[in-house]
Each structure stands twice: as C-alpha cells, then as structure tokens.
Symmetry: D2
Subunit: 392 residues, 4 copies
Amino acid sequence: MSAPAGPPRRLRLGMVGGGRGAFIGEAHRIAARIDDRYELVAGAFSLDPYRAIESGHDLRLDPTRCYTDYRGMAQAEATRPDGAEVVSVVTPNASHHAICKTFLEAGIDVICDKPLAANLTEAKDLLETARRTGRFLGVTYNYSAYPLMREARALIEAGALGAVRVVQVEFALGWLSTLAESDSKQARWRTDPIQAGPSLVTADLGTHCFHLAEFVTRRRIDALSADLAIMVPGRRLEDNAQISLRFDNGARGAMWVSMVAAGEQVGLRLRVYGELGHIAWDQSEPDQMRLALQGEAVRTIVRGGSGLSAASKRATRLVAGLPEGYYEAFATLYRDYADILTARHAGTAPDPLALLAPGVEDGVRGVAFVEAALQSGVQGGAWVAMPGSGPD
Amino acid sequence: MSAPAGPPRRLRLGMVGGGRGAFIGEAHRIAARIDDRYELVAGAFSLDPYRAIESGHDLRLDPTRCYTDYRGMAQAEATRPDGAEVVSVVTPNASHHAICKTFLEAGIDVICDKPLAANLTEAKDLLETARRTGRFLGVTYNYSAYPLMREARALIEAGALGAVRVVQVEFALGWLSTLAESDSKQARWRTDPIQAGPSLVTADLGTHCFHLAEFVTRRRIDALSADLAIMVPGRRLEDNAQISLRFDNGARGAMWVSMVAAGEQVGLRLRVYGELGHIAWDQSEPDQMRLALQGEAVRTIVRGGSGLSAASKRATRLVAGLPEGYYEAFATLYRDYADILTARHAGTAPDPLALLAPGVEDGVRGVAFVEAALQSGVQGGAWVAMPGSGPD
Amino acid sequence: MSAPAGPPRRLRLGMVGGGRGAFIGEAHRIAARIDDRYELVAGAFSLDPYRAIESGHDLRLDPTRCYTDYRGMAQAEATRPDGAEVVSVVTPNASHHAICKTFLEAGIDVICDKPLAANLTEAKDLLETARRTGRFLGVTYNYSAYPLMREARALIEAGALGAVRVVQVEFALGWLSTLAESDSKQARWRTDPIQAGPSLVTADLGTHCFHLAEFVTRRRIDALSADLAIMVPGRRLEDNAQISLRFDNGARGAMWVSMVAAGEQVGLRLRVYGELGHIAWDQSEPDQMRLALQGEAVRTIVRGGSGLSAASKRATRLVAGLPEGYYEAFATLYRDYADILTARHAGTAPDPLALLAPGVEDGVRGVAFVEAALQSGVQGGAWVAMPGSGPD
Amino acid sequence: MSAPAGPPRRLRLGMVGGGRGAFIGEAHRIAARIDDRYELVAGAFSLDPYRAIESGHDLRLDPTRCYTDYRGMAQAEATRPDGAEVVSVVTPNASHHAICKTFLEAGIDVICDKPLAANLTEAKDLLETARRTGRFLGVTYNYSAYPLMREARALIEAGALGAVRVVQVEFALGWLSTLAESDSKQARWRTDPIQAGPSLVTADLGTHCFHLAEFVTRRRIDALSADLAIMVPGRRLEDNAQISLRFDNGARGAMWVSMVAAGEQVGLRLRVYGELGHIAWDQSEPDQMRLALQGEAVRTIVRGGSGLSAASKRATRLVAGLPEGYYEAFATLYRDYADILTARHAGTAPDPLALLAPGVEDGVRGVAFVEAALQSGVQGGAWVAMPGSGPD
C-alpha cells in the first residue's frame, strides 16, 4: 500500500508593509493562514527599524529576516535556499510599482494589493516585467473572491439573465465625511497624492467596482463619463465620483464611489440586469444574493446551497447558513494563488477555477480605468474611451 | 349648546380618463374615497360611447353625466348648479395640456396626473392659465405624499443630515423588458410618441424621481448629464436612462430610471447623504426609512413612531406597525387638495402642511427636467443647465 | 343593446361603538368605504349623548339616527324602510354578546369585532341565535384577509409544503410594557375584567393567532398547554402567554402572545413548517411571504405576483410592488361580507372565495380557545383538550 | 532598549475525532489556526488505522503521532517532552466522557465539543475530575462567542433593557426533514442512541440555546415544560421539541429546537425582552443585532461599530461592515482558551474577558437541561425543576 498523496508543502511567504497596527497587512496574513498553504518567513514591515523588528517579533519571525528596506529583503531572500518564494505587497499605492518590480526582477512571485500602480505607464511596466521574468503577479481584488460573486459570474455565463443590459455598482464609505486626514495615519496617506497617487476614491474603491463589474458580467467597459468632486474642503483628492458606464455589448451602467457617504460602513453593492432578470448583492451580507427573474418569485441564493456552480462551491468552506466573511473570501484568493504557484513549481496546470483569482492583466485594466476617469473628470465629464490595456 | 363644527362638505369630483380596467383612474378614485372628502359626480371615462357609459355605470353615476368628450363635459358641468367643482385628469400624457386648459378655462379646478404636459411650452401655458383663471392645478407626484418622504424632508430641513452632498435615486421596473407594447394597451400608449410625448422613462419615472429628490432635499437640481438608451429593439422611446445630477449647493447625484430592469417590480428608491449621515427609503416598504448617522447605530424610522414631525403625522392614519400603502399616500394628496380647495371656497388659508401636495409649479419643473434630459441625451451626454421654470 | 349589468347597490350600514377618537371603529369605516359597497346610515357611537351626536356629525349622519342606546337603535332601524341592514359592533369585548344578540333578534345582520364574546356560553348562544334567526354574523379576524395569508392557505391546500408539522405563531406588542392603564382609556378597558372579560392577551391577540393558524393550515388545534403571566405589577389580567399547541394531525406548535414585548409594535408573525418546506410571514410587511422549500433557494412570494392563487388574487387590488396595507385587508373582509349579504338578499350563492371571511363558527372557536388556555393556566400548564365548538 | 514583549508561544494541540471529511473537526482546526496560537501536533482522528494516518497526512502531521486509540495517544503524548498540552475532543457525544476523563487524568487540558456528556452523572464526573486533576476543561458552545452575543450580554448587564421578562430562542434545521440517517454518516450517529446518547435535538441544538439564553441574560432557567416529538417515522430520537421556560427572576420564555424545520438552514435566533426594550439576533447574519427600545426608533447594532462594549470589541477583528462569520467566532473561543491556558502556565490570571468562554460548569448545566427536558417529556410536559448542577 503506498502512502496517500499528501497536501502540497507550505509556500514560503514574505511581506512588504503591514507593520503593527496596519489593517490590510493583517488581513493578508490571516487570509494566508486559514487554509494553511503558506508559512510567513520574512518581512519588511516598516521603514522604521524599531517598528520593523517589533512587527516581526509579533509574528514570531527570525529577527534577521525582518528588514527595513524591501531592496535588501529581495536580495537576501532571493539568495537564501529557504528564502521567501512569494511576497505580499501591502504598502501605499504609489510604492507598488517599485516594490513589485524589485521582487519580480529578483525572481520572486508577488501578490500585490490593489490598485496595481499609480498610473498606467507603471502598471504596464509591471505587466511587461512579469512577462519578461516569467514571474507571477496577482492583484488582490478580494471582493470578487466572495463565493457568490463567482456564482454570479457562473450564472451569467450560463445565460441565466440573458444578455446584460444594465450594471449598477457602488462602493460607499462614510469614513472620510470629515477631514479625518488631520488625525488618522491611514486617512493621511490615502488622501496624499504623493503616497496614494493622483486619485482617492476612483483608485481605492473604483478599481474594486470596475473589476467586479467586468468579472461578473464577462463584458468589458469601453467608455465612461465621470463627475469627480471634492466634498470636504481642504481635501486634495476626489472623495466622490459619479461615473456613467458603457459596455462593449451596448449595456449601460452607473458607478458611485464615495468616502463621504456619511452613515455607510462598507457599502459595496452590485446589481446586474439582463434581458431575463437581475442579480443583486451587498458585500456586508455576502452569503446571500438576490436572483430575480422577470415574472417569477425572487429567489435568495445562499452560499453553500444546493445546485450552485463549481466555481462557488470551490470557494466555499462552510455549509449554507453558517456565515463566512471577509477573511474567508480573501483566503480563497490566497489559496488560488497557492494552487497557481504550486502548479508552476510542478510544471503542471492549476485547476482552471484557480485562475478566477485576478492577475496582472486585471491589475493593469483597473489602473487604465482610473486614468480614463481622471481624464473624463478633467474634461468636465466628457465620454472617454478606455485605453487599451495590453503592453504598449 | 351650539352644534359641534361639522366636517367640510364633500367636493363634487369629475374625472377624465380612467375607464373600466384603467389602473391609475381607479387609484385616483379609491384615493378620493378613503377620507370621504369627495363625491364622484361625472366623468368622461372613454372616447368610446359604450365604454364611457359602462364605466360610469360601474360607478353608479347618472348616465347623463357620463360624457364621451371632455369639452362637452366641461361645458355641461360648469353650468350645472351641482356640477363638478374639480376634475381629475388621468389620460395619456400628451393630452394633459388640452384637457387641463379646457377645465381651467371653464372655471373648474384640476388634479392632473404627472407629467403635467408633453413639453415645456405646454406646461408653462398651463401655469399661465391657472394664474390667469385663478384656478387650482395640482399634479399627483403621489410618492412624495408617503409619510416618510415628508418625514425625510422635515428631518433634512431640521438639519439632521447637515448639508446635502449626494442624492441617489432610482425608479426601475422590469415591465417593458420585452416588447410588451405589441400586446398590452397600457404599454402601447406609453411607448407611443403620439400619445406619450417624446419620452418614456424620463417622463414617466424620471419626473417622480426628480420631484422626490427636490422635495426631500429642498435643493434644486441645476444641471444634468443624461445617457438615454433604447434597450429593446423595435421600441421608439428611451427605456433606460442614467442621469448624473448637480444641485444648486454643489451636491451631486445619480438618477437611474428604467423599464427594462428585469425582475424589478416597482423599484423606486431614494437615498440622501449629508455631512452627518443619510436616509434611505424604498417605496415597496414605505413605512420604514433608514436613518444612518455617521458613528451611530443605524435607526429604522417607522411611520407613526414617536417623535416624528408634524408633516408626517398629518399624513398618517394608522399606528406604527399596522402598514399603510400606496392608496393611503395617494389619499393624502386628495385630502390635501380637498383642504386647499375647501379653504379657497371659504376664503381662508389652508393648513400650511396641505401645501406639501405638489402644484402646477412642481408640474412645470418636472417637464423642464424631461426637456433638459432629452437635450443632454441628444448632445451625447453633455451637461445641460435646467431651464428656468417660471412662465416666460 | 341592453344596459350593462351594474354594480350591486350599497348596503345600509350601522355601527355600535366607534365614537370620535376610537381606533377600531374608524378602521371598520374606512374598510367599508374603500370598495364602495356600504353607506353608513346610523350609529350608536357612545353612551354619552353629546359624544354620540358629535361622532355622528363628524360622519355627516342624520342626527336622528345617532343613538345613545343600541337597543333603541335596533328597534328604530329595524322598523324604518331605509333602516340599517347590517351593523358593525366595535365595542369592548364583554358587551359583544348582548349587542350582537339584540341586532340578530331584530333581523339585522352583524359584523362583530373579535373576540366574539367573553365566554364560551355566550359565544355558543350567538351561534344558536344566528342559526335560529337566519341572520349572518361575521367576526373580523382581519389578519386572515391579507392576500398572502389566503395565498398561504391555498399553497398548503395544494400540498406545496406536504403535511404540516410545526406552527410557530406570535403576536407581540410593547404597548403595555408599563402600567399604561393608569393613563390611557383604551388600555383601561382592555385590562379591566368587567369590560374586557377574563383575559387580556389570550383574548385580544391569541384569538387572532389561533384563527390564523387554523385558517392557513386547515388543521384544527386540539390541545394546548398555557403558561400565563402578569408581568407588570398592578395589572389584573394576563399580559404574557406562552402556549404549546398540538394539532389534530400530530403537528406541534407554539404561540406567544404578549403586550409587554417592549420595543415591538405589531409583531404578528406566522410560520408553518411542513414535510417539504415552510412559509413565513410578518404582518408589518404583509406584501411579502417567504416560501422555503428544503433543498431549494428561498423564494419571496409577493402579493400580486404572477402565478398566485385565485384566493389571493381576489383579495388584491394593486400590482405587485405597490404596497397594500391594513385597511385594504380589512376592506377585503367588508367586501366579502357584502358579497355574502348581497347574495343572500338575491337568494343566490356568493362567490365561494367570499366565504373565506370568518363567520360565527370561527368566532365561537376563538372563544373556546381562550377558555381552554385560561383553564390550562389555572391548572399550572396542564394539557387541555379544546372543547367542542358546536352549539350544545 | 529591551526587546519588545513577544507574543505567547503556540500551544501544542492534539485532536480526538475530526478525521478526513468531518465537519466539526475542521472547524476546530481552522478556529485554532486563525489567531496563530496553536500548533497541531498529534491526533486520533479515526478508529480506522488507514483513515487515521491519512487524516494526519492531510494535516502534515508526523505519522508516529497519528493514533487510532485515544488512550494510547493520551499516554504517549503525556510522556513526550514535546507532547500535546491540550486536546480538542470532537467525537460523537456519547464518547465525550471517557475521552475527556482520560486526557484530564493524563494531565492534559481539554477543549470538548458540546454537549459535554450523555447524561448528568457523566457530566458531573468530568467536573469532579477537572477539579481533582487541576486541568482545564472548556466546552465549545461556539455561538456565544459571536461578538454581538457578548455585546448583548454586556448591554443587559448594563441595564439597557431593564429586568428581563421574556426570552424567545430557537434553533431550527431542515436537515433531518426526511429519514436522512439511512444515507448520511453524520445523520446516522446523531440519531443513534448508542452514539449520540438519549437525545437528538435537545442535546445537539437545545444545549446551544440554553447556554445562549443564560449567557446573554445572566439569569438561570429554573424550570421547564417540554413537548418532545418524533416527526419522521422510523427515527429513534426526538427531532422536534417545544419547551416552555421559567427563569429565576420570574421571566418566561420559549425554546424551539428542530431538525425537521424544512427549508431552514441554520436557524438559530435569540430574542430577549426586558422592561425597556428587546434585542434580536439571527446567527445567519451575526454581525448585526436589533436593539429596540420602547418608544424609540429601532437601532441596528453592528459588530465593530462605535460605542460597543469591551467584551465585544475583544472578540472583533474587522471594522464594521466587513463581515466576520462562524470561523471567527469559533476562533475567539480558541483564543480565549489559549489566554486562559497561557496564564495558567505562567501562574497568572487571564484577561477576565477570556473567561466568557464556556467552561466545564457550563457544560454540566447544559447536560442538566437535557435531562430535565427528557424528564418533562416523559411526564407529558409536566413542569420540571432544573437539577442542581454542582458536583454531588
């Protein structure tokens, strides 16, 4: 009797950014931990040496692998036999390009938070770099990993709604209803053009909406008209945007992204209307999705329920009725990336469903969207065609 | 001991349109009946003589007062001592101007369904006619009569949300997802430019949204950018519109109106975000409204609950928890109009809260909105300023 | 060409109770008005002569038909050629028996609010009286007239849930969380054994639940175990009851009725579980009902939606998505009673669906339930069989 | 400058039960992993040697520490210097006593799934054993670890609802609506008196409800009346129970537990009514809780929102609006147990809030409840006093 096939070995993970107290770094770490496919081995958690060590200490890391400089980390880890194989980049947006490029060049795969880069030139350069080096570059549009967003995609692909006609998507937060950047560190960098790049809500929230809309509908947005506004006096980047959308098949849509939507917590909501009916989903109750077909009773699709697609089943851990949440969806991305990387190491093809996890092309496309929206905004809401998103 | 002051006498009501099987005519009649302030005495229910008589018979009307021609009705009723004092006009949109004008000129007050007219010239002419004849002309934007829409207005007026920043409003139906006009009489006239005028969803649904947004916020929309589309091949008027809004205080907004929103029934929803929080309301559950103030637990305001404004209390009949609906809101308009007309007859001032019921100026403004949206649509979504809405 | 068949003539309606300011009398009047099948002609609105006249004056009644004494009213109206044909009885519970009996004996039909009587002896006497005099006696369990409760009954009758196994029903109000009877007139009579009879929540709320459970399931409750409590010190009747139920087919259930459920408004909720799935309904959102079949996505059945039963369609006025409420359901009872009475006058059979409106047998059964619950309560929660509910 | 204080070392964890495909074992493992406070080192996953090895292999365990027999595991691990310090027991109910006792006697702490034992004698013996050996024994009533259940407890403790008057709690599944035990392994053991003990729903679901009700209210249930039923022919244990409750302060309540509630997934719902208002919570949307105070607008309390108690904040990882779920609540128990055990090892006191995690006394009390309910059921629903739950 031969030994049963074991689980794949854990991938050696590094992290750039995500020091003590950082929200998104901790989310990436818990996501990596849930399915036990990674082992955190190194990090450049902070530019401040004390904080870098302290943050690594919290994570029981070897102090010699707690770096203050991502370049040093890339060099050191790339040369160790037990070095990090993949790094998570969870720093402010404007630094993504330099950091990702460094690791790719060092032969290390990368999982980068969104948006991929501060502008389209940088984003395309990362696409080119990834292709040239043969490294993997994933971009964590984590909301599309919720099981029911994968179910929505599968439903639409199967024709359940007929041709898509209208997409309504919004991501509304009340977080920056006041000039919070005077008090909060996270608010400060996000509203600072030097650290965040040229956009606030379009980049931070709009890229999620854009990806989700294209992911679920499998259609491309090809033009948009944006009305960008700064609602809070003293702020330097747009905190509210109303964006009209046109899709490649003639469908229309509207996107609203705002950080001045007082009273909202994490108001990410998507509705897709086709010829036959619509789906509606709200991130704050991610385990249910409305499916309303014209002339039939509205159905509530529940994660884990019977009759769901392979795509959503694969992203599901618990039976219907026991809630999963934000970490589990994020963990699905990490598990997908682990499958992709493990298959690469083995020279095999990953489960095709793992490829639902967004890659560098999706990252480039999101940055192209931000540029188009900014351009429309400058032109007083003129309709702007989406730029091509391949390498130049 | 003197006799107690009695209730005002019933007003003698006529109706134009609303023959057997018509939806909106029956709604007006039930609305008029609920508070027992009107007595239906005459009608021109149909151009078809048999149907006109038959419809009047259903309503136990004197056959001699069942007209086939609104002109004859106006003349006859204006000269009878017991003639109709006020008529409800519930015909297809494009006929509103001629009918309303005829009755106003005959000295009879008018309650007209929305939109007031097929174009701004006609609408302004009705405004001028009403002023000249001294007659009353109400326009039944019935949704603003829901108690919680009056509460929302009172809350915002009292500063509960701070300055308004963003308005999201939509009215989405799935009714015309297919080319229903080939089968359904109501679908046929609404999609026929001759009977309906030059707009479908903007006129039929957009005017409700427009009125509601201005009514609740007490701000004026002063510019808009519209993306109008015909989604169902063979249709002659726009069945989907995405409209970006700018308000006179710098607030932004988006309106979506659609009759191709498959799976929606009567999806009229309004959200208003201010500096401090937002309100959210859905017509299909009209007795509750979300009030979310930044940093506080979301509250569900319930019609009839304690602490509500005089404006919503006056529009409330039942205790909190016993549901009111569409007819009761419509009845509130009829009661308000009865109060206004009764006060006019007595030469006194009505309860100021009765004046929340929309009048001819609101009707003109709605038609101005439709014209602006059509103009923006023709110009590829250019921002168009709202035309002045006073008489020229 | 013969004249089209007209609508039936309006029935001449009288009312006992329901003076100025009374809630339930006004509800009966609006219910009677909505479908225009009744004309209010007389009333004994109050024992206080001034209030009796004043209340009639509010309703534009002839002062000579505003009585202070129901006996005088019965005698006078029974002998007028244009006298009331049917009276609504909306007085405190303990007076129902004497009033209903007087009108039945005078040859006048009766629509009585629930509970029918203060004890089973009285209730059975009314059943006997109605049979003997050949008069009609309806009992307004108004909640079973909501269209979706009729839909639920039709669904279960059609086998959609399989055999019923569990019924959970509750009617919870916060109204009497404090000793409100010291301030409020309505609270005073309801908590006074002389006016209300021997039960508070079991009679006022429990009879609704009991009727609804039997109406929807078409099964009979045949035993119960009740835990009755007085939660507010100083109160004289039970303000909270937990009642376990057994049905004639072996199904089990629980009923909770309370007026000390602080924070509840009108918390009437019903769930019925069968072998295949369940329905769930909440009176405060009466236009929707959950239908959950095991192994399928939950469906939301909407009043007016396609595919609904004849029984609920007949009780529906508005299209799906435009809300109906409490008055419309109550009006359905009045319309049903009008159909029944009009058919009796014509010597024909009414629409069988009109017979869904509850009659005297349902009234007797509700009183039998109250007696059984009180008996169980006295015996420390012993299981008590429901008494027979026919005439002795 | 001294090194920053590090995180506590990981506890060495073993597991009994939870082989490949088992649901609850995997939940315990993920829960243990999320906060990185445990390292899984050994397991007796199955009595079947191949499956035991295979299950350990899936988890990358040393094959020499994959046992088939928990006794051998206890002996071996207790004597290794790197042996398991704490074991999770996730086997069928009837085996809990023997397994827990074995590990406690071997000096190893235990985290046991609920119910603690198959009868009160066994449960009390475990309490006595834990006290005698000085070992810790936690019982995973995981639902009370949801942040908002801790918030509810804190609110009630702070007097927000006044004295508790009514508790309505239910746990309804549709899972066993048919005789699923003929096909499903998990259904088989749970409905088999030999493996499950003498109760199905009362033990499996009722103990959760019982614990939650007492945990949140901080009151004790002191008597109950149970109506137990077998609804599916051929089943050997009760699959539906209606239980009336009386609390030590005079409050009343009802519990409904069922596995034949067709169409329900995980219908665990709790409502607590006090003098001033109530809270309502549904496990399937665990991040929100209704707080309804009489005379005020209903508030929706959201996990992570501002103004929440220290108890719920400590159990919260994500900001309000990003959903947490079942695993995170379970992980909170594991983190609490880690805090308790780490403090014991250090000879210090744990954070008092960690002691909200249920211990052996809570386990005993749950088993006492099951015995009382069975006794009442046998006596035809007689009221039975809860037995004392201390050691005899």
